[in-house]
Symmetry: C2
Subunit: 108 residues, 2 copies
Amino acid sequence: MNDNSEKQKMVKMLKALANPIRLKMIASLHEKPKNVYALAKELEIPYPLAHLHLNGLKKLGLVKEVRAEQKVKGLPSVKYYAPSKFEIVLTPETIGKLYAESERGKNG
Amino acid sequence: MNDNSEKQKMVKMLKALANPIRLKMIASLHEKPKNVYALAKELEIPYPLAHLHLNGLKKLGLVKEVRAEQKVKGLPSVKYYAPSKFEIVLTPETIGKLYAESERGKNG
DNA sequence: TTAGTATGTAATATTTTTCTTATATATAAA
DNA sequence: TTTATATATAAGAAAAATATTACATACTAA
Protein backbone atom coordinates (compact mmCIF):
# COMPACT_ATOMS: atom_id res chain seq x y z
CA MET A 1 0.00 0.00 0.00
CA ASN A 2 2.77 2.35 0.98
CA ASP A 3 5.52 0.78 -1.10
CA ASN A 4 4.83 2.95 -4.10
CA SER A 5 5.52 6.18 -2.29
CA GLU A 6 9.23 5.40 -2.11
CA LYS A 7 9.45 5.03 -5.89
CA GLN A 8 7.19 7.99 -6.49
CA LYS A 9 9.21 10.13 -4.13
CA MET A 10 12.38 9.14 -5.95
CA VAL A 11 10.89 10.12 -9.32
CA LYS A 12 9.76 13.45 -7.89
CA MET A 13 13.21 14.12 -6.44
CA LEU A 14 14.90 13.23 -9.72
CA LYS A 15 12.47 15.40 -11.67
CA ALA A 16 13.23 18.27 -9.35
CA LEU A 17 16.97 17.80 -9.85
CA ALA A 18 16.71 17.23 -13.60
CA ASN A 19 16.58 20.94 -14.35
CA PRO A 20 19.47 23.36 -14.89
CA ILE A 21 17.90 26.24 -12.98
CA ARG A 22 17.14 24.13 -9.95
CA LEU A 23 20.60 22.57 -9.98
CA LYS A 24 22.14 26.03 -10.15
CA MET A 25 19.99 27.10 -7.23
CA ILE A 26 21.20 24.25 -5.08
CA ALA A 27 24.80 24.93 -6.09
CA SER A 28 24.43 28.61 -5.28
CA LEU A 29 22.66 28.04 -1.96
CA HIS A 30 25.27 25.46 -1.01
CA GLU A 31 27.95 28.07 -1.51
CA LYS A 32 26.06 30.64 0.52
CA PRO A 33 22.47 30.81 1.78
CA LYS A 34 20.39 33.53 0.18
CA ASN A 35 16.85 34.71 -0.44
CA VAL A 36 14.70 34.22 -3.55
CA TYR A 37 15.18 37.77 -4.74
CA ALA A 38 18.99 37.52 -4.66
CA LEU A 39 18.82 34.12 -6.33
CA ALA A 40 16.70 35.53 -9.14
CA LYS A 41 19.22 38.30 -9.73
CA GLU A 42 22.19 35.95 -9.61
CA LEU A 43 20.68 33.46 -12.05
CA GLU A 44 19.33 36.32 -14.19
CA ILE A 45 15.79 35.04 -14.23
CA PRO A 46 12.53 36.83 -13.31
CA TYR A 47 11.56 36.66 -9.65
CA PRO A 48 8.32 34.67 -10.14
CA LEU A 49 10.26 31.99 -12.00
CA ALA A 50 12.85 31.79 -9.24
CA HIS A 51 10.07 31.63 -6.65
CA LEU A 52 8.41 28.84 -8.59
CA HIS A 53 11.56 26.75 -8.85
CA LEU A 54 12.67 27.30 -5.27
CA ASN A 55 9.21 26.41 -4.06
CA GLY A 56 9.36 23.10 -5.89
CA LEU A 57 12.64 22.29 -4.16
CA LYS A 58 11.28 23.43 -0.81
CA LYS A 59 8.16 21.28 -1.09
CA LEU A 60 10.31 18.20 -1.61
CA GLY A 61 12.53 19.11 1.29
CA LEU A 62 15.61 19.55 -0.91
CA VAL A 63 15.95 23.12 0.25
CA LYS A 64 14.97 24.69 3.56
CA GLU A 65 14.66 28.08 5.19
CA VAL A 66 17.67 28.65 7.41
CA ARG A 67 16.83 32.02 8.88
CA ALA A 68 14.58 35.04 8.48
CA GLU A 69 16.08 38.44 8.99
CA GLN A 70 13.77 41.15 10.12
CA LYS A 71 15.42 44.14 8.49
CA VAL A 72 12.77 46.62 9.48
CA LYS A 73 10.06 46.66 12.16
CA GLY A 74 7.31 44.07 12.19
CA LEU A 75 7.44 43.37 8.49
CA PRO A 76 8.01 40.83 5.66
CA SER A 77 11.38 39.52 6.75
CA VAL A 78 14.01 38.39 4.28
CA LYS A 79 14.03 34.61 4.16
CA TYR A 80 17.30 32.80 3.63
CA TYR A 81 17.44 29.35 2.09
CA ALA A 82 20.02 26.59 2.03
CA PRO A 83 20.05 23.04 0.63
CA SER A 84 18.99 20.30 3.01
CA LYS A 85 21.33 17.37 3.56
CA PHE A 86 20.39 14.75 1.00
CA GLU A 87 22.12 11.96 -0.84
CA ILE A 88 20.77 10.11 -3.83
CA VAL A 89 22.94 7.40 -5.35
CA LEU A 90 21.95 6.22 -8.79
CA THR A 91 23.36 2.96 -10.09
CA PRO A 92 21.70 -0.04 -11.78
CA GLU A 93 21.92 -1.73 -8.36
CA THR A 94 20.22 1.02 -6.35
CA ILE A 95 17.50 1.32 -9.00
CA GLY A 96 17.07 -2.44 -9.10
CA LYS A 97 16.84 -2.53 -5.33
CA LEU A 98 14.26 0.24 -5.25
CA TYR A 99 11.91 -1.78 -7.41
CA ALA A 100 12.74 -5.21 -6.08
CA GLU A 101 12.14 -4.17 -2.46
CA SER A 102 8.80 -2.57 -3.11
CA GLU A 103 7.68 -5.61 -5.08
CA ARG A 104 8.36 -7.75 -2.04
CA GLY A 105 6.64 -5.16 0.11
CA LYS A 106 3.40 -5.91 -1.67
CA ASN A 107 2.98 -9.27 0.02
CA GLY A 108 5.01 -9.23 3.16
CA MET B 1 33.87 26.04 -24.33
CA ASN B 2 33.44 22.46 -23.29
CA ASP B 3 32.65 23.07 -19.64
CA ASN B 4 28.93 23.21 -20.20
CA SER B 5 28.67 19.72 -21.62
CA GLU B 6 29.33 18.16 -18.22
CA LYS B 7 26.39 19.98 -16.68
CA GLN B 8 24.22 19.41 -19.71
CA LYS B 9 25.05 15.74 -19.72
CA MET B 10 24.13 15.53 -16.04
CA VAL B 11 20.76 17.18 -16.66
CA LYS B 12 20.08 14.81 -19.56
CA MET B 13 20.99 11.81 -17.43
CA LEU B 14 18.77 12.97 -14.60
CA LYS B 15 15.90 13.67 -16.98
CA ALA B 16 16.28 10.18 -18.38
CA LEU B 17 16.18 8.70 -14.89
CA ALA B 18 13.34 10.94 -13.67
CA ASN B 19 10.68 8.72 -15.22
CA PRO B 20 8.96 5.66 -13.74
CA ILE B 21 8.95 3.65 -16.97
CA ARG B 22 12.63 4.19 -17.59
CA LEU B 23 13.51 3.38 -13.97
CA LYS B 24 11.48 0.17 -14.21
CA MET B 25 13.30 -0.69 -17.42
CA ILE B 26 16.69 -0.33 -15.80
CA ALA B 27 15.55 -2.33 -12.77
CA SER B 28 14.19 -5.08 -14.99
CA LEU B 29 17.25 -5.20 -17.26
CA HIS B 30 19.50 -5.25 -14.22
CA GLU B 31 17.70 -8.33 -12.99
CA LYS B 32 17.96 -10.02 -16.38
CA PRO B 33 18.85 -8.72 -19.85
CA LYS B 34 15.96 -8.78 -22.30
CA ASN B 35 14.71 -7.40 -25.59
CA VAL B 36 12.35 -4.48 -26.18
CA TYR B 37 9.41 -6.69 -26.97
CA ALA B 38 9.70 -8.65 -23.73
CA LEU B 39 10.18 -5.40 -21.82
CA ALA B 40 7.01 -3.97 -23.35
CA LYS B 41 5.03 -7.02 -22.27
CA GLU B 42 6.50 -7.05 -18.78
CA LEU B 43 5.78 -3.37 -18.17
CA GLU B 44 2.40 -3.66 -19.90
CA ILE B 45 3.03 -0.81 -22.30
CA PRO B 46 2.73 -0.70 -26.10
CA TYR B 47 5.86 -1.70 -27.99
CA PRO B 48 6.49 1.70 -29.65
CA LEU B 49 6.47 3.36 -26.24
CA ALA B 50 8.92 0.84 -24.87
CA HIS B 51 11.09 1.31 -27.94
CA LEU B 52 11.01 5.07 -27.46
CA HIS B 53 11.99 4.93 -23.79
CA LEU B 54 14.70 2.31 -24.23
CA ASN B 55 16.12 4.30 -27.11
CA GLY B 56 16.43 7.35 -24.91
CA LEU B 57 18.38 5.35 -22.35
CA LYS B 58 20.52 3.78 -25.06
CA LYS B 59 21.41 7.14 -26.59
CA LEU B 60 22.72 8.35 -23.24
CA GLY B 61 24.68 5.18 -22.70
CA LEU B 62 22.67 4.18 -19.64
CA VAL B 63 21.68 0.94 -21.34
CA LYS B 64 23.56 -1.12 -23.91
CA GLU B 65 23.02 -4.06 -26.21
CA VAL B 66 24.63 -7.12 -24.65
CA ARG B 67 24.00 -9.68 -27.34
CA ALA B 68 21.93 -10.40 -30.43
CA GLU B 69 20.55 -13.86 -30.91
CA GLN B 70 19.96 -15.02 -34.43
CA LYS B 71 16.98 -17.27 -33.91
CA VAL B 72 16.37 -17.96 -37.57
CA LYS B 73 18.58 -17.67 -40.66
CA GLY B 74 19.92 -14.32 -41.80
CA LEU B 75 17.21 -12.26 -40.19
CA PRO B 76 16.25 -9.55 -37.64
CA SER B 77 17.94 -11.00 -34.61
CA VAL B 78 16.57 -10.56 -31.12
CA LYS B 79 18.56 -7.85 -29.36
CA TYR B 80 19.17 -8.12 -25.64
CA TYR B 81 19.80 -5.08 -23.49
CA ALA B 82 21.32 -4.51 -20.07
CA PRO B 83 22.10 -1.41 -18.00
CA SER B 84 25.59 0.03 -18.39
CA LYS B 85 27.69 0.54 -15.30
CA PHE B 86 26.99 4.03 -14.09
CA GLU B 87 27.03 5.90 -10.81
CA ILE B 88 25.51 9.29 -10.15
CA VAL B 89 25.78 10.68 -6.64
CA LEU B 90 23.54 13.62 -5.85
CA THR B 91 24.27 15.73 -2.79
CA PRO B 92 24.48 19.51 -2.28
CA GLU B 93 28.27 19.03 -2.44
CA THR B 94 28.40 17.11 -5.74
CA ILE B 95 25.98 19.59 -7.29
CA GLY B 96 27.95 22.51 -5.94
CA LYS B 97 31.15 21.00 -7.29
CA LEU B 98 29.64 20.42 -10.71
CA TYR B 99 28.89 24.12 -11.09
CA ALA B 100 31.93 25.48 -9.27
CA GLU B 101 34.36 23.45 -11.36
CA SER B 102 32.85 24.37 -14.68
CA GLU B 103 32.85 28.04 -13.69
CA ARG B 104 36.58 27.85 -13.11
CA GLY B 105 36.93 25.97 -16.36
CA LYS B 106 35.78 29.04 -18.23
CA ASN B 107 39.02 30.91 -17.68
CA GLY B 108 41.64 28.34 -16.95
C1' DT C 1 -4.35 -16.75 -44.14
C1' DT C 2 -4.63 -15.24 -39.59
C1' DA C 3 -2.34 -14.78 -35.06
C1' DG C 4 1.80 -14.36 -32.58
C1' DT C 5 6.58 -13.04 -32.28
C1' DA C 6 9.97 -9.50 -33.41
C1' DT C 7 12.04 -5.30 -35.34
C1' DG C 8 11.74 -0.14 -36.40
C1' DT C 9 9.79 4.52 -37.62
C1' DA C 10 6.57 8.56 -38.44
C1' DA C 11 2.80 11.44 -37.34
C1' DT C 12 -0.20 13.00 -34.33
C1' DA C 13 -2.41 13.76 -29.85
C1' DT C 14 -2.20 14.40 -25.08
C1' DT C 15 -0.17 15.76 -20.92
C1' DT C 16 3.17 17.95 -18.21
C1' DT C 17 6.58 21.26 -17.46
C1' DT C 18 8.30 25.66 -17.92
C1' DC C 19 8.02 30.53 -18.53
C1' DT C 20 5.88 35.02 -18.82
C1' DT C 21 2.78 38.51 -17.56
C1' DA C 22 -0.04 40.54 -14.37
C1' DT C 23 -1.63 41.30 -9.80
C1' DA C 24 -1.18 42.51 -4.81
C1' DT C 25 1.28 43.93 -0.66
C1' DA C 26 4.98 46.67 1.95
C1' DT C 27 9.06 49.64 3.13
C1' DA C 28 13.05 52.88 2.13
C1' DA C 29 15.37 56.15 -0.52
C1' DA C 30 15.74 59.53 -4.06
C1' DT D 1 5.84 59.72 -6.66
C1' DT D 2 8.95 56.84 -8.82
C1' DT D 3 12.61 53.38 -8.21
C1' DA D 4 14.55 49.68 -5.76
C1' DT D 5 14.07 46.20 -2.46
C1' DA D 6 11.27 42.19 -0.93
C1' DT D 7 7.40 38.91 -0.52
C1' DA D 8 3.62 35.82 -2.81
C1' DT D 9 0.19 34.09 -6.12
C1' DA D 10 -2.76 33.38 -10.36
C1' DA D 11 -3.58 32.98 -15.20
C1' DG D 12 -2.26 32.11 -19.48
C1' DA D 13 1.22 31.04 -23.14
C1' DA D 14 4.92 28.38 -24.90
C1' DA D 15 7.79 24.50 -25.00
C1' DA D 16 8.99 19.87 -24.01
C1' DA D 17 7.91 15.25 -22.73
C1' DT D 18 4.97 11.44 -23.12
C1' DA D 19 1.75 8.38 -25.31
C1' DT D 20 -1.08 6.60 -29.05
C1' DT D 21 -2.08 5.14 -33.59
C1' DA D 22 -0.67 3.72 -37.83
C1' DC D 23 2.59 1.98 -40.95
C1' DA D 24 6.19 -1.25 -42.81
C1' DT D 25 8.94 -5.46 -42.64
C1' DA D 26 9.66 -10.60 -41.66
C1' DC D 27 9.35 -15.29 -39.90
C1' DT D 28 6.73 -19.29 -37.49
C1' DA D 29 2.86 -21.86 -36.19
C1' DA D 30 -1.92 -22.93 -36.29
